[in-house]
């Protein structure tokens, strides 16, 4: 029964969302919630409250009990004020995307959404949710900006869009729920699920530089360079760091430059997704070892390089790769 209800409510939400989308259009990034797009309805608690107030007023009228009547009116006034307050808590709230965090299939991609309150009053208990995800309610203080995280399970490789989310609040008394629907065009990437370790990486393919190539190889120590995010940790010159010279990375050069190309075609005999998974595994491992690598997919080639940005570049290419016909 409950499941049916939930499914019905999900369907209702989807239809409602579609209707709202027709009404207010798709949002570009950065939305300020205005009167026209905030909806409000009583919660179950609010309906119970209304019933209680109604009973009090009717009882007061019936028994000619004026104070009971006044008490009912007082509570009705509290409820109506709370309704306005609930609406006001959302009105003027600004929302925009702060960052998306991609993840491997089987994990959760995260959308970090900034809630900015430019008013002099706080906006407590702002809840952001989608059909499948729900963020922890955020208290956005006066003049404050707070980040709220929506984590969505990455089920399938490829882009994970966030096409619709709801921002809602039950502040202040829980009698009403005000909400707005935002139709952003956010997307995170679900990287392929890495294959289990086992298959050795393919042989080194290219030797792109000689002894003077500072960026490649690990035979001969040529010097130190300042540490940058993405540099492999095992190359940090700890001794130099201990001397108080700051974080540096040892640089090597040499003729035996190991630089991999992970090639789609080298994995003949595997299915398309399995190939992507395998390449994904190799990319992760190569990055962890600090080795230079590139990938070659039908129609896409990424030259060998190192670093975090490169890793993400490769993983994204794998995630978005469209399997050519015949490789199903």
């Amino acid at each position: 029964m409950r499941r049916i209800l939930r499914r019905m409510s999900a369907a209702a939400r989807a239809r409602m969302g579609a209707w709202i989308l027709r009404r207010q259009g798709r949002d570009t990034d950065g939305v300020v919630l205005r009167r026209g797009r905030i909806y409000i309805l009583p919660t179950t608690l609010g309906l119970a409250y209304a019933a209680m107030v109604f009973a009090m007023v009717i009882g007061g009228l019936n028994y000619g009990n004026n104070l009971g009547l006044a008490f009912g009116f007082l509570l009705a006034g509290v409820g109506l004020t709370a309704m306005h307050h609930c609406h006001g808590t959302l009105e003027g709230l600004a929302l925009r995307l702060h960052a998306t965090e991609s993840a491997f299939v089987g994990y959760r991609v995260t959308f970090r959404i900034l809630l900015a309150n430019s008013a002099v009053a706080p906006r407590p208990r702002i809840e952001i949710s989608t059909d499948e995800a729900r963020a922890v309610p955020a208290d956005v203080g006066a003049g404050a900006t707070v980040e709220s995280e929506l984590s969505i399970a990455a089920i399938r490789r490829g882009p994970v869009p966030l096409g619709r989310y709801e921002v809602a609040t039950r502040h202040p008394l829980g009698l009403f729920r005000a909400w707005a629907v935002v139709h952003p065009d956010y997307r995170a990437i679900a990287w392929p699920q890495p294959a289990t370790r086992g298959r050795p990486p393919p042989a080194v393919e290219t030797d792109t530089g000689g002894a003077q190539d500072r960026a490649r190889g690990d035979d001969d120590f040529v010097g130190l360079k300042p540490f940058q995010l993405g540099d492999p940790l095992h190359r940090i010159a700890w001794k130099s760091y201990a001397r108080g010279n700051g974080l540096h990375v040892k640089q090597f050069a040499g003729t035996d430059v190991t630089s991999y190309i992970f090639d789609w075609d080298s994995l003949a005999g595997l299915g398309a997704e399995a190939r992507l998974s395998q390449i994904c595994r190799w990319v992760i491992d190569a990055h962890d070892r600090g080795e230079a690598y590139g990938i070659r997919l039908p129609g896409t080639t990424i030259e060998p390089n190192i670093g975090r940005a490169h890793r993400e570049h490769c993983l994204t290419a794998l995630a978005l790769f469209e399997v050519p016909a015949g490789h199903g």
Binding site: N62, Y63, N66, L80, A119, P137, P172
Partner: protein
């Protein structure tokens, strides 16, 4: 959002709300109900502090069923205010034991709201108001605590935020109260439960001490159209007692007797009586009532005015009485026999005494006179704390203890009269009253309860005889307090003090105002108020229009208030004006350099443009004063605007 432990946000507030709500019923709620709430509340609070587990479900079911059975056993019903309140209270206690989630907490808050409301069904006195508002505030604060954000913890903050949130409800409630259409009568009947209100009963038990005589509660208030009758005429007629069983005088169950004719003498007294609720039907009319609102009341064969419904709320009636009358010049035999009947045994000495009197004279007036003379000349004593009486109560009182209050004297007198062959009965009611000069009304308290006799004399009808007056004339002229000699000295000084009595009168005036204007506010008063406000012929449509206007104004007002609450921070006017000045100066070719401060810039500009020199230096000064001065003045801001405006050109 259920939390794993027993700690729950807002629990303390919900408990406080329940505590206030139960306190509003203190003295009326059965002790076990209050105690169960207190115990369960304390236990639940301690459990939250220690993080201990809540009892299992079967125990709760057991407790709930047990509580229901106790309520039914006590009240024989779950209907009505008394039983309903007790049931709500014990259910709150049971609910406390299983309060795990926000939802349970809100149930507690709702129970608290309902208990507060139920307290109003019992008593609408003004003294209730502070407790009621406090209860509503705390209950709302509990809801706010649950839904109002996590950072909010200090109780003072929660309260002040709740007040800041909810205050618009007060003016709205006030206006709705004035404008909401009232019903002429109830939709459905009013459940009459057991009553615990003080009021006049329709029987007298000799030897029992009346709790009325020491109650300072208000019985009713009377506004006279003309002058107030003198104290000796202020007899307020209540139940008439006919049946005597040797110890107890009772009002017989309704029987039909012919209405007796009355001849009115002298001038009528017109007045309005406002009764405090006493859960009985009597309307205490001045002796002897001649006219009453026929739709709401009727008169009995023994001249008592009885309301058609129990007086369960403050109610007013317009009455007319005549202090002088000949009531029932003819006495039907059925009535005569009934008011001569005496129990077949008991009180032999009184019977003998009555018969003796009858032998001495056949004139009922002479018999009554002899009896009153006995009271006056022999050492009879008026006291509110008489000795207890045993089997032959009247004998003991009349010949041995010789001390008692009005009931004793009236009972003994009436019995002697019957024994002497004079038809006689006891009339209970109130006697006296205190004039409140502030409100211009007569205030009658429960302690003014009184009992007197009526004897029937051929040709003159029923005559009022007050034997108490023979013993303690002060009782009639100055009230109970003056006539009781045995009150503790300190109490008397307290009560006699002028200041205290002034304060009491003032307080009663406030209460009367409250009763007349708020508690009894009805359709008639509603329309007359509208007329005074300038509406010529108010009707339902006026009310509807008014309500619509009020609601619209409320919505607009609250929206405006919220817009102000959620306003953006104030703009930095000096900074804006300075920037405006810079734009205008730039048009003249004086562009502010990157590293140039406002003051240097203005000075450089002043050096360049001699025609604007005065303005620019003034702007510099005002800008500095507004931004960095100790107390920026609005006046300076206006001047700055003016000076910057002069740069236009």
């Amino acid at each position: 959002m259920a939390e794993p432990g027993t700690a729950l946000r807002g629990l303390g507030w919900a408990l406080a709300a329940l505590a206030v709500a139960v306190a509003a019923h203190v003295g009326k709620l059965p002790a076990w109900a209050s105690v169960s709430v207190i115990v369960a509340g304390s236990w639940r609070y301690a459990a939250a502090q220690r993080g201990s587990r809540l009892p299992p479900r079967w125990l709760l079911t057991l407790a709930a069923v047990g509580a229901l059975l106790v309520v039914i056993a006590t009240f024989r019903t779950v209907n009505g205010v008394e039983a309903g309140t007790a049931l709500l209270a014990v259910m709150a206690a049971v609910k406390l034991l299983e309060t795990r989630a926000e939802r349970d907490l809100t149930v507690l808050v709702f129970i608290a709201y309902f208990l507060l409301y139920a307290a109003l069904l019992r008593d609408q006195g003004i003294a209730r108001l502070p407790l009621l508002l406090a209860g509503a505030l705390v209950a709302t604060a509990a809801l706010y605590r649950v839904h109002g954000g996590i950072a909010l913890t200090a109780p003072v903050n929660v309260l002040s935020r709740t007040v800041a949130l909810a205050w618009p409800a007060l003016p709205l409630a006030l206006l709705l109260f004035v404008l909401f259409p009232r019903l002429p009568g109830p939709f459905w009947g009013i459940a009459s439960g057991q009553s615990s209100r003080t009021g006049l009963n329709d029987e007298i038990m000799l030897g029992d001490v009346s709790d009325l005589s020491v109650s300072g509660e208000v019985a009713f208030r009377v506004r006279f159209d003309g002058p107030i009758p003198p104290p000796a005429q202020r007899y307020w007629r209540g139940p008439v007692l006919h049946e005597f069983d040797g110890r107890r005088w009772r009002r017989p169950p309704a029987q039909s007797f012919p209405q007796q004719t009355v001849t009115w003498l002298g001038a009528p007294v017109d007045y309005q009586i406002t009764l405090e609720p006493h859960d009985r039907p009597w309307i205490l009319a001045l002796d002897l009532p001649a006219a009453w609102p026929e739709r709401e009341a009727r008169s009995t064969y023994d001249f008592q005015v009885v309301a058609r419904q129990l007086v369960t709320r403050v109610t007013s009636y317009r009455l007319r009485s005549y202090p002088a009358y000949i009531a029932g010049a003819e006495l039907p035999t059925s009535l005569r026999n009934r008011d001569l009947r005496l129990p077949s045994q008991g009180n032999p000495r009184t019977l003998a005494f009555g018969r003796e009197l009858a032998l001495e004279s056949a004139d009922p007036m002479a018999i009554a006179g002899a009896m009153l003379r006995k009271f006056r000349t022999e050492p009879y004593h008026y006291t509110l704390d008489p000795p207890r009486l045993a089997e032959n109560a009247v004998d003991e009182f009349l010949f041995e203890t010789r001390s008692g209050f009005c009931e004793h004297y009236a009972a003994a007198f009436t019995m002697v009269m019957r024994a002497a062959g004079v038809p006689a009965r006891i009339v209970t009611g109130y006697q006296g009253g205190e004039f409140n000069p502030l409100g211009g009304y007569l205030l009658v308290r429960q302690s003014d309860a009184h009992a007197w006799s009526e004897i029937w004399v051929a040709g003159r009808g029923w005559l009022r005889v007050d034997p108490t007056a023979a013993v303690a004339p002060d009782r009639i002229e100055r009230g109970v307090r003056a006539s009781v000699a045995d009150a503790p000295a300190l109490t008397r000084i307290w009560e006699d003090s002028r200041l205290v009595s002034q304060a009491q009168l003032l307080w009663d005036y406030v209460n009367d105002f409250w009763n007349e204007r708020i508690v009894r506010f009805d359709a008639r008063m509603q329309f007359s108020l509208l007329q005074r406000l300038g509406v010529d012929e108010p009707d339902w449509r006026t009310l509807g229009l008014g309500l619509t206007a009020v609601l619209a104004a409320f919505f607009v007002g609250v929206s405006a208030w919220l817009a102000w609450t959620f306003r953006a921070p104030q703009r930095d006017w000096p900074e804006r004006l300075h920037r405006q000045a810079a734009v205008r100066l730039a048009r003249r070719g004086i562009v502010r350099r990157a590293a140039e401060g406002p003051v240097d810039y203005l000075e450089r500009a002043a050096a360049h443009c001699p025609d604007l020199r005065v303005d620019l230096l003034s702007i510099r000064e005002l800008y500095v004063a507004l931004r960095y001065g100790p107390a920026p003045a609005d006046e300076d801001l206006r001047l700055l605007k003016y000076r910057v405006g002069r740069l236009r050109a």
